[in-house]
Amino acid sequence: MDLLQSLGLGFSVSLDPINLLACFIGVLLGTAIGVLPGIGSVATMSILFPITYHMGPAAALIMLAGIYYGAQYGGSTTAILVKIPGEASSVMTTIDGYEMARQGRAGVALGIAALGSFVAGTIGVLLITLLALPLTRAALALGPPEIFVLLVFAFVLAAAVVEGSRVKGLAMALVGLLLGTVGLDVIYGIPRFAFGTTLLLDGIGLVPMVMGLFGVAEVLINLERRIDRVVLGARVSRLLPNRAEIRESAGPIARGSVLGFVLGLCPGFGAVIPPFIAYGIEKRLARDPSTFGRGAIAGVAGPESANNAAAAGGMVPLLALGIPGNVVMAILLGALLTHGVHAGPLLARDHPDIFWGVIASMYIGNVMLLVLNLPLIRLWVGLLKVPYGVLFPIVLLLCTAGVYATSREPWDIAVMLSFGLIGYGMRKTGYEPAPLVLAFVLGKLAEESVRQSLLMSSGRLAIFLERPISLALLVCGGLAILLWLGRRAGRTRSAGS
């Protein structure tokens, strides 16, 4: 099947009324939770995870993906009107977006954020369309040693890009891998870390873990904080930017789109890091950098485009290689596995309807978001006025009922609460939960591939150096570590002087 035929199949799948409805619900919910601070896309996807059991795999994936990229759109609304990022990826938008709102240009800021997001999302999906098949073909050449090295590379990158200490990030990835070994051993069938109970034979559930670490922990952290919101909603007028504003934003949108997509491909980056880099680049390229922080439209257009393109880029490693680059992708992988579908190089061949259906749905989803976002701005402003004291019990209820509905086991609620407490402790002490979840999801594959590699080579570790792809990945990983150590040494020297 050539590219156009495949895309045609994708559109016929995504235009199916059920899938279209799933896409609409996904992007609508995604925008709503992106608008609401304190509820992340990860928590929402986890909450809706059990509902997807009753859907087909294509509809499930279309809806969950819609929540993710919808949340990137919605996050900007809160960042601009309240100066609180609805999503972590909207942090940079708070700087100039809120300034624009204070100057009475909230409508233009929202308009350019939506336009930039639409352009970047569409460019991102176009690039997925072009890249996914060649990557899928290349991935078929990967054997256990290459897969293991690729996973190690992903863990190191995921640990390296966390906020704060990299060693802590690495420790969290190791804890995630260890938690992934709970249950029956993949080769010998021996129970490990099960403590004599049957409840742990299948391992720890992904849903209770993610809901605890992200949903419950987020609420617990917010509960001990004062959340003051000053909504500048009354000042929203003239949503469409004029010609000069569009000219000023075109460059930042194009650069943010390409940068976001490329960074989104790298494991661990997600949609959070690219906006920071995009903002830095725009400030450096600006004719007058002093306008940044005082309502520069490029300070909204660049980061907003970057986070949406990164959300699209993150889909590539998942769809083509079966390797999720961030927690959101890990949940999507979990949804596929629940339906008995294995993501990876064979997905495009064995399930072209799912593979191309999801890609095509992202084109449709981006159009839906552009149509939804601007006319519904008053609704989002109204949503922002719901007090957190009313919102958080409902979030906790959705987490608890969602976890129970997954397995009908109160044990899973206990697991979720335990991880909620662990996540709360981790936030308090500067440990990030994202590398833990990423490593947990990939743990089984990592163990299988390292044991198979050793069996293949009769115990020779040199197998990881002898194969060209594996060697190239090891060199890339080594260079990344050296680069990080070099930057750290540079920072320490400059701090010392």
């Binding site: 509902i51 200490s165 060693v167 802590k168 190791l174 260890l178 009313v390 009922a401």
Partner: protein, 152 residues
């Protein structure tokens, strides 16, 4: 050094170290095997060893790391609200199959709304309303939730 090595460093490092030691001992019980025939304990044993090294590195690096930034938005004794909410969710897990979804939701949500600053007079009926409305929603979504053994 003593000022930097506070509870926020020592506590997690102790937990990570203890987890590493426990996992290494437990993994060696399953059989580590050798490089050409790795056993069920092989992978967790080496993970635990690396985790132990990471915990040591965090401890060694702590005096050189920047001091923790205190969140200015945290209210005094705010943690009590968080722990109260967590305890109520624990009750939810215990009561759910006995009392049923609507009853448990109403019982637990009312004090949660109260924690969020809603007056009791509003919190109690709001809890019941959310319980009934969410039951109807989940039922429509084909999510099966318990009616409670007492009502059967």
């Amino acid at each position: 050094m003593s000022t930097r090595l506070g509870a926020r460093t020592i506590g997690p490092v102790t937990v990570l170290g203890a987890l590493a030691v426990f996992a290494a001992i437990e993994a060696s019980r399953y059989g580590i095997g050798s490089l050409n025939a790795p056993g069920p304990g092989f992978f967790p044993f080496w993970l635990a060893t690396l985790l132990g090294l990471c915990a040591t590195a965090v401890l060694i690096g702590a005096p050189r790391s920047p001091p923790p930034v205190m969140d200015p938005g945290v209210v005094p004794f705010g943690w009590m609200r968080s722990m109260g909410a967590l305890a109520l969710l624990g009750c939810y897990a215990v009561l759910l199959e006995r009392v049923g979804y609507v009853g448990t939701t109403a019982l637990v949500l009312a004090p949660l709304f109260r924690i969020g600053g809603v007056r009791w007079l509003v919190a109690a009926p709001l809890g019941l309303l959310v319980g009934i409305a969410s039951w109807a929603l989940f039922d429509a979504l084909a999510l099966r939730l318990p009616v409670g053994v007492w009502w059967r």
